[in-house]
Symmetry: C2
DNA sequence: AAGTGTTATGTTATACTGTAACGACAATTT
DNA sequence: AAATTGTCGTTACAGTATAACATAACACTT
């Protein structure tokens, strides 16, 4: 379906930051938000969120299913998709349309405009606010008379870290 | 998979222009381009392109398969996907990632940056150049050190025609 | 305690989307 | 002629997602 390379754990940029705090921050934020909103971050939903935050790479639904099965042996596709639906509704994750995959959202669970930079090499997804891009988009919509419901801007390419770590690797820059 | 409504032929805005010229223009342009490039716009590819141009709505691969079967009884999924791959390579159609669907490209078969405005109501896709958006994106990529491979910007909402024709229909503007 | 409503989950089956692999065939090149 | 290339037929399968219905868990009322 996609021309993108397979996700590759080797390409994770784990060393650049203390990722354990990414995970715990995301989880505690989610717990607080769900409590405030009176919605239930059930064990299944919590676990799916944790699995998604295991990396900054976009994760596929069936990968999640495989990973959750040891813990939740009854898990079926619907189990995962329901949890994903919930997490998306609550603004805790993004669906990456162009990958059929899911990634954690750092933006505290509010709906917001997003620019997703998706690395073809390491599959990590960087989320940026990109105020000026969004402003330019708004102008464009106004011109077109288009009423926007979602601005999920997904762009594929090579992230700064991958470009640097393989500047001599011509294939990436094609 | 998507929260979008099903494609609905009733919602096509056929009256706004002489769509028969859209189709014939697209086909003759494609024929010329392929001839120039020395690539083959075979009967199957030609037919798929024609079916895609039957409307300005994004069309799904298996819809194309159903529609081509009466004419090409041997048609299988691979038949359609191969034709789609070819047409995408030649820049004659776009893949709409967020719909898993395909739409004709008006831009004469050259690779280019695109802003696709996708109407949730009529499923028509409007392609815009959006120079300023693209410039703002370039700046953002430069800042992020991101090397872009594709800029397929897809935005979902309600098109001007649908908004107008159902201004009293609150559901659309939600 | 028993009944009721709501949300979440289990379960089965199925639909939809996309690709791999191989062989047949024709046109072109060497 | 032999090799190469491009297209298509064919089979089989992999991967993605949802429908439909049953059950469980819980909170709330009576
Ligand atoms: Zn991290
Ligand atoms: Zn990368
Ligand atoms: Zn038209
Ligand atoms: Zn519309």
């Amino acid at each position: 379906m996609n021309t993108h390379a397979e996700p590759n754990p080797e390409h994770q940029h784990t060393s650049a930051h203390d990722h354990s705090t990414c995970i715990s921050d995301a989880l505690t934020t989610a717990e607080h938000l769900c409590a405030e909103r009176g919605v239930q971050l059930t064990p299944i939903r919590h676990k799916v969120l944790e699995l998604i935050w295991a990396s900054h790479q976009a994760v596929k639904a069936y990968e999640l299913l495989d990973r959750i099965k040891p813990l939740q042996s009854a898990a079926k596709p619907a189990t995962v998709y329901r949890a994903l639906d919930f997490l998306i509704e609550q603004g805790l994750i993004h669906r990456v349309e162009s990958l059929n995959a899911f990634v954690g959202c750092r933006c505290s669970g509010h709906q917001h405009e997003q620019l997703l930079l998706i690395c073809k090499h390491c599959h990590e997804v960087e989320e940026r606010t990109a105020t000026e891009v969004m402003q330019a988009l708004s102008d464009e919509f106004k011109q077109a008379g288009f009423i926007v419901h979602s601005k999920a801007i997904e762009v594929h390419g090579i992230c700064a870290k991958c470009a640097e770590s393989s500047a001599d690797n011509a294939e990436l820059l094609a």
